[in-house]
Every structure is written in structure tokens, then in C-alpha cells.
Symmetry: D2
């Protein structure tokens, strides 16, 4: 399955008093890439949010922080959907520094994120909409 | 009219790479004090958000940043409602460092915030609910 | 003086429970545009942060919120430097929705932001570096 | 080892357009509890940040999101240090809704967070300061 990638810049808002990106804020970069992956399929977050009867929520994630990102860094965030259950979107994601993702030195963050589709009323897992099942090649 | 005050601590999440609180984040502290002022009247933000037919939005604000707040600082945020139009909640707010608000040295931020009540459909200004008119002594 | 403009997208991270961009978060968009204006002059925030003996801080701002931005909106943020004192960078800034800034309907936010240059030790105002004085045509 | 716990309130700033706490923002709550655990030992984050020659960084985390937190919720965040290597602080953390942590219904988030101590220059792992080794009963 192809790897989608998206660029973002580090601004003051992203850093903390340690001079590096605050650990929670990498999760914002990760979501921007997932959102843009969705948009590359012709769909928006707003559209997912308004689907009748279902909602999407991050169910679990794990993150390894390898090197810190700093003010003014340009980041490349990747998003690689993985086969999982028909109720879950699973993404392997990486954040690299600079325009040359792939260089071992530039790998800042590795993440594994599971987004689950649930019934709005019962909160029980529900099958993903077809276009997502197709996109994820489930 | 009495001045309401609320304490908050500065954490890593609030600071930026300059080692001080990021300029947008003082607005979060200001809103916490307005929310707790509301709670001190026996009402919640959730309750305001669910009022049928109306919604509340910050319409304007001005902020003067006098001294920076730093990691681990304890802040006192004040909230002083002011007479204004019957469609607007206006608050003068101050942020002090430490437990002795009033000392000139400790004044970090002064703000003037206007929250407007509008019709959900037309977005035209609407009269505030009675309990807020009473609280604001309009 | 020319108006600089910069585009940004609204993601989940920017919104609040009201379904619109949280009022403090517009200040992050405003700063991104100021940072990119600086970069367009060939300078970075990191460079300003490392200038010996001086530092830059937002001293005051006023914001008028005209219309809310929503999830998935594309924003255009402008940044128009203004003549002011030799120790202050003043910016008039606007946030528009969509790719056609100028349409009255699309004006979401107006802001006036003052960034002051101060002596690192005494915190007294200091003259801006020459390249900024030039850029601001003071 | 005893479990430390800390209370926090959910404000507008923490929520997103889905009406629940934004997934990255739970990490801010988690850090507040770790910071207050540190303070309960008589030490501050500022003090850690200024230790000569070493720095602390989150190296890895995993989070399971069980139920969403909403506007106005009061949260209890726990922080349970665990034995690990002498260069790592590991914390098991839980976020509960309300004042009765322990009720299965109220468990919102489970997290496992590793903070590593490294040499400031070489970024190689370094032994934690003695007071932390003692606190962690390593």
C-alpha cells in the first residue's frame, strides 16, 4: 500500500520551554497527515463527522520519540494505512525532519494509531464506510 | 461589582521555546476564570452551549502583555464583569503571578473581553438570558 | 507597504466543542503569517531568538472576531507591517476564509498586534535590528 | 508503590469540534499529574530543566482511549511510577471522570509513559539524579 506524505512547519506554538516540540503536539502533526490522506481520497473530516449513525475516534496509539523537532524545522509526516479489522483504520506514521525523508538521521517520531468506527448511540464498533474499506484494502 | 479570581499553574504545555508562556495561551487562562466565574453563579459552559436558539461567542478582545509568566508559576486570574449592552458580557481581566495579586510587580496581563449572545440561526445579537443580566447587573 | 499573505488549513486541533475554531487559536494562525513574512525577508524566528542581547515579545494586541472558521476551512492570513516606533513591530492582520480574500463575507478576524524589541537583561525597549527597521520602512 | 493522583477540569480549550477532549490534549493532563507528582516530592520541572549536563525527554508512550471526556468534566489523573532502568522514569497513568476513580465506568484513558534522562551533549542515556532513583525505588 502506498505511503502518503504531508509537509508541515514547526512554529512557536508547537514548541515548549525546552526549545523543542512539545510531546503532545506531534499528535497534531500526525492527525494533519491523516486528514490530508483522507482529502487525497476525495473526502473531508467534516464529511466523516456528519455521517449519520456513526462516529470515528482514536482508540489507541503508541509513539516512539527518537529525536526532537525544533523551531522552524520543516517536517514530513507520513501516513501508511494498514490492514486491520473492518471496524478499524490503522495507520503507521513517521515524522521526518527536512525534505529528504528516509535518511536515518532525520527520523524523529514513529507512531501506530488506531481509529475506530462506532455506532453513535451504542458506542459499539461498526463496519467502516465502504470508501474507507476500499481505501484500506480490507 | 465584585472581582472573581481563580488560580492556575503554568505547565510545560503552556510555554514556548522562549521559555515563557506562549502569547495565545494566556487566553486559555482568561477563559478558565470566566468559566469558573460562571460556575460560581451555579451555571456551566455546557449549559450555555445547550441553550436553545442562542449561542455565545467572543466578539472582541484586547490584551496588554506586561511581564511574562514562566514554567511552574502559580497564576491568579481575575474576572470583573462590566455593565455593557444587554446582548454582551464584558469582562475586565487580569493575570497576576503568585498568591498576592495587587502587587504592581506581579501584574502580567491585562485584558478586556467581550462575549456576545447571538441568535443561532440569524447570528444577530440577542438579549442575554436573565440570570446573566442579573449577574452582570445590567 | 505591501500586504503579505499566507494560507493555512483548519484541522481538528484548532476547533473546540462549539464546532468552530477556538478563540485563542486564531492567534496561532496570526503568528504563522508573521513568521512567514519574516521568512520571506530571508530571516527566521530561530535567528531572531538567538540575537545577542535582545528579545522580542508580543506587547499588546486587539482582535475582532467577525465570523467563525470551521473544520476543513482554508484560511488566508494577511500581515501588513505598519510604521510605529523604532522599538516596535506593528502588524495589521486579517484572516479570510477561502481563496478569495477581499470578499466582505469572507473576513473572519481583524487583528492589530504589537511586537516589542527589548534588552534581554533590563527588559527596556531597544531599537529593532536594522533589517527589520528597513523592512518596516521606519 | 503508592499511586499519586491530581484533579483537573475540562475547559473549552481542551475540546474539539466533536464535542469531546481532543486526543492530543489528554497528554497535557497526563503531564500535569507527573509534574505534580514531582512537586509532591519537593521538586519542580524548572529544577529538572536546569540540572547541569542532563535533560529529560519523553521517549515513548502508549495510550488507550476508552471513553471520551467532555466539557466541564472533572478528571482525576493518576501517576504510578514503575521500576525500570536507572536511566528511565516509567509511569503507568489513568484518567478517570469524576471524583470516584476506580469505578469501571469512569475509566477514560490508560497510558504508559517513559521519560528518559540523557546527556545534554551526547544525547546518550544517563543515570537519573539520586532523588528520582529513590522516588522510583529503583
Amino acid at each position: 500500500m502506498r505511503v502518503f506524505s504531508w509537509a508541515a512547519r514547526v512554529y512557536w506554538e508547537d514548541t515548549d520551554g525546552g526549545g523543542i516540540v512539545y510531546y503532545a503536539n506531534y499528535l497534531r502533526f500526525l492527525e494533519r497527515a491523516r486528514t490530508e490522506w483522507l482529502r487525497s481520497l476525495g473526502h473531508s473530516q467534516q464529511e466523516l463527522a456528519q455521517m449519520p449513525g456513526i462516529l470515528f475516534a482514536v482508540a489507541a496509539l503508541s509513539v516512539e520519540y527518537r529525536r526532537p523537532a525544533r523551531l522552524d524545522d520543516e517536517l514530513i509526516i507520513t501516513c501508511e494505512p494498514r490492514n486491520e479489522r473492518a471496524t478499524v483504520m490503522r495507520f503507521l506514521q513517521h515524522i521526518y525532519r527536512g525534505s529528504a525523508p528516509g535518511a536515518a538521521d532525520d527520523l524523529l517520531v514513529e507512531a501506530d494509531v488506531r481509529v475506530v468506527c462506532v455506532d453513535k448511540r451504542t458506542l459499539k464498533p461498526k463496519r467502516l464506510p465502504d470508501f474507507l474499506v476500499d481505501a484500506l484494502e480490507l
